[in-house]
């Protein structure tokens, strides 16, 4: 079943928490050093959106984030001679981005405090979905339980429109939540890699991931409920 496969690939990977450069990474770096424009274009298309999302954790506007990302790509090209493969190519690119973003944020002297990006303390699910905590028989249990999406036709779940709603829900998140879910779930980074890059604790990272995933799930539930038979 394709849906089984879809979910299986979401299970945590057993590979190294801090991957080093793969043979493919070294091939790309060699091609860039040789001036291969198509390889550069492909790399830009692959990572640009996620780079912008990470930049938005540090700078306030999308326009500034896009500038930071442009500067990052130039920085990547200029730093190519120094790439030794001790980290993966993508980690290396994102570290350059993080450094550029922090520098820019300091210059702007208007960087947004981390706490204000975290998105508050909203519960994962609307409390109205549950019975009251003082309910005599079933305190805190579902009043309107969610329905399994397994009942939906697979084409529905795999359709482009569903993916577009997922993307829209991610882009609607507060900056820090958006960054963490982007790196963990969209890009597939490990928890350690994300904590290293963003210089946050595992606990902090988990809270952000939890809030982000909860909101995206809710948005998808609203969308899919509207389409269920």
């Amino acid at each position: 079943m394709y849906l089984d496969t879809l979910v299986l690939h979401a299970m945590p990977s057993t590979e190294a928490q801090h991957p080093i450069a793969t043979p493919e990474d070294m091939r790309l770096v060699d091609a860039l050093r040789a001036g291969d424009e198509q390889v550069f274009r492909d790399l830009v298309e692959r990572y640009n959106a996620s780079l912008i999302r990470v930049a938005l954790m540090y700078v306030r506007t999308r326009a500034v984030a896009e500038e930071v990302v442009q500067d990052t790509w130039i920085g990547v090209l200029r730093s190519l001679p120094r790439f030794e493969g001790r980290s993966s190519l993508r980690t290396w690119i994102f570290r350059i981005l993080a450094n550029q973003a922090r520098t820019r944020a300091r210059k702007e002297a208007r960087s947004v405090p981390f706490s204000s990006l975290a998105g508050g303390d909203a519960p994962a699910v609307d409390p109205d979905r549950f019975l009251p905590v003082d309910h005599s028989a079933y305190p805190g249990h579902w009043a309107t339980p969610p329905r399994s999406w397994g009942g939906l036709p697979e084409e529905e779940l795999l359709a482009r429109e569903t993916r577009e709603h997922t993307l829209a829900a991610i882009d609607a998140l507060p900056a820090s939540q958006r960054t963490v879910i982007s790196l963990r779930d969209v890009e597939g980074w490990s928890s350690d890699e994300v904590c290293d890059l963003l210089e946050i604790s595992e606990g902090n990272q988990r809270v952000l991931l939890h809030r982000a995933r909860s909101k995206v799930r809710e948005a998808l539930e609203d969308y899919l409920n509207g389409r269920a038979a």
């Binding site: 979910v7 299986l8 979401a10 299970m11 005599s136 028989a137």
Partner: protein, 164 residues
Amino acid sequence: MIAYTFTGPGARRPFRGDRWPPPGEWAAAGRGSRVDHLPVWIATELWLVELEGSVHEVATQLRADRGRLVRRIDAWDDAAAGEFARWCGRRILELSRAADGDERLNAFRADAETFAAAADANVAGWVATRAAAAADGEDGAARERARQTGWLQERLHLDPVPRV
């Protein structure tokens, strides 16, 4: 060691979103339970499972580094699960007669009448346990679970210590 394990349809592992491989093939994170804790884990299919590697018990669950299905216990099917659900429903009515007027028991009694199908088996067992707790405290709840285990052992002809 050999233990019992419940799964979803097609040997789906209940909380992991994947399936057990075919019987005999090892999988990581073996899970099961002793016969005493069967009612807690009731699901669609019942299997014998072999657990290996740091086997230890945590509350009602046996945990090991790996496990493999041995064979399915066919006696546990939709019919048996439906019977169990309805039996638990009757237990809830008996328990709530014994301690009338308790608000919780009124709610449980209302639900008891809905427990009819195989899919209700686990929750029916749980509600019966909660009804027993409302009537007789946590000791009552433990006795109710033991009663449920007895029902399953008898109906399915289960060995207390499962043999291959």
